[in-house]
């Protein structure tokens, strides 16, 4: 038989273990639900697993001559020189947003060809290209 002191200690240990495990599960569950995956237009075209209405980031180059601005929105095409995707966005764009330059858009996919962006991400440095874009373009421009 365990004496009371050891028993109490054991109880406390079990309680702490349960607490730590619950919190860890909670953290990772929330993390999983709120992760933004990054895709290139070709990945979106190819993949069957990408869920519409999930928040995500897509990146590539702004296609030359594709930017259109009307009263409400800005429309442009993100391309990785293999596939393209139309992006619709409302709001201000970062200073380095321009045709033929790299861009990352954050938002939701409406269908495989149409993306509703909530945010256009800026890189403050002109010579800097987000590593994701660099990598996804590397495979296509050769």
């Amino acid at each position: 038989m365990l004496n009371i002191k050891t028993k109490n200690r054991l109880l406390i240990l079990v309680a702490i273990a349960v607490l730590v495990i619950t919190i860890t599960v909670l953290i990772f569950k929330t993390l999983e639900d709120n992760v933004l995956y990054f895709y290139s237009p070709s990945e979106i075209e190819k993949s069957n697993e990408i869920v519409l209405n999930d928040n995500m980031r897509i990146g590539g180059m702004v296609k030359k001559g594709s930017i259109e601005t009307n009263q409400n929105e800005i429309r442009f095409i993100i391309t990785d020189f293999k596939s393209e995707i139309i992006v619709s966005y409302r709001g201000t764009v970062p200073a380095l947003f321009a045709e033929g330059k790299g861009v990352v858009a954050e938002g939701k996919l409406q269908d495989k060809k149409f993306f509703l962006a909530k945010r256009i991400l800026a890189k403050h440095d002109e010579n800097y290209m987000p590593p994701e874009i660099k990598e996804s373009l590397k495979d296509n421009v050769k």
Partner: protein, 625 residues
Amino acid sequence: MLSNFGVIFSSIALITSFILIYFSFLELKISDSKIPKKIYNFSLAQLIFSLLSFLILLIGYVFSDFSMINVYENSHTTKPLFYKISGTWGNHEGSLLLWTNILVIFSFLFLILTKNKNKNFKILTLIFQNFLIATFFIFLLTNSNPFSPIFPIPNEGMGLNPILQDPALAVHPPLLYVGFVGSSIYFSAALAALISKVEAKSLATTIKPWVSVSWFFQTLGILVGSIWAYYELGWGGYWFWDPVENSSLMPWFLMTALLHSVLVLERRIGLYSWVIILSILTFTMTVIGTFLVRSGILNSVHTFANDPSRGLFILTFLTLMVFSSVFIFFKYAPSEKKTYRIFSKEFFILINNWFMVFFLAVVLIGTLYPVFLDTLVGEKISVGPPYYNFILAPFLIPLLFLMTSGPRHKWVVSELKKIFNVILFLSIFLFLIIFFIIQENNFLIGLILLFSIYLVVQTIFDFYENFKNKSVNFSRIISHLGFGLLIFFISINHIFSTENNFNIRTGEEKDTKDYIIKFEKLTTMSTTNYKSIVGNFKIINKKKLNTKNLKPEIRFYNQPQTITYEASIRSNFFSDTYLTMSNISDTDVFNIKFEKKPFMNFIWFSVLLISFGGLLNFFSRKKQI
């Protein structure tokens, strides 16, 4: 010319730290109770040469000496003097020199100011500090030399990134670095205390002022950075859970935990090992933060030119540091048996520490997860703000509650205070009034509001009660009050912020729910370092029928040629009106983000209150001695 002097001065400072380490080791064996003059002299010499090397770089910037690559790459003759000076630490090499200088200053101050009688403890702290100083000087001279010469000497510099040409960002790094580097002192002191077996109370009184000071500066640094992000990034927010922001917040959690547990160490001679672990962790976290920011493995919205070799150096240093600290800890840590009664002050402080460690874990996991996933699986992800908000927000409720009741309990033994008292009913009453006005039906936000009101009301009441007994703990009152207000105003701000995004031509107007936004005309402006297009907007409030003029700018900086968008913000007492405009490749249509952000000034003010409490904590110590 200057370049050589810079290298010579910092090399001398490096050599003095080796000399100091050597003499200090010799001194450990001598049982004289006084620290010899020569150690003071060498420390002073180290301080002087270190400051001189910084002065050299400063002079290089002020007089635009482009014979140094660093000045050439980050400065320009037309830049205003203020930004020439702040440019000194506006880049990797310069900021590292600043970091090292603060390290040297703090070591020297520790040596001359600490009244601790234990000689070996002071000497050992000095040894650890000098190991750190030497490492950073070596890093500086071999990898990130701010004095590297360039030949032929260019006539003109490349200029400072315009988004860094900003008063808030000029003071942000020094503030944050004082906070970061301040933690090195209690890191070294904790290790030294283990080896020289310093008593709990004596360790507590020695490190407490350093904890308060570094915490104060860290809080201010975070505040200034956040204000900068608010008006410069043009996203209308003030905290984005960006990895770089997280890097400054993570050490803050640990400092806050330490700030509280050091009280237990001082008053109850308890948590000795825990305080030491926290001290080691805090500095480790600041180095990790520096590593994450400088190595460029994190994809951040803030720019930092990056270089893997820097990361490798910091990572190696970090590993060595952690392993040797862990080794020292396990070799020397005393066993401690102390039980704490539930509902005593120390019990609540312990819970506070658990919360801080939990917050740290959440932020650390969110920050590092993308890095791990990328290296392990090659999957590119980012973790968005919802992760942090979802997890952290519910835990604010118990934290707020414990912050309210914890401080009212006594040390050692205390009976459980009645929870259902007048204050709680008063808070609920206040809450219901506010709830009725704002009509928010989110349960979670409602609870957070309720408990933040409770904290504020109770803290004010505590102040009144203590004031009658003439024993006010001002630092606690002010910081806790500030925190209650901060959470309250953040929640209100979250509920009532409105945002409108649209495109508009000059002369047109946009009709939104509460406002009419008139784009009257475009004007141009020009100063020495930039030209700008200014949009003249008239905002008409439909209900109150008043108008405000807002003038957002698109700036074209000449050196380096960069475009920035400047938000126009009008603050009145209760609310900020925020407008940014952008323009794509010279079309006549402008993209507008129009926001109404209530209580922004109150949020800044609350953080100021919080940090002010830390300052008071520092000064209240003086009185006790």
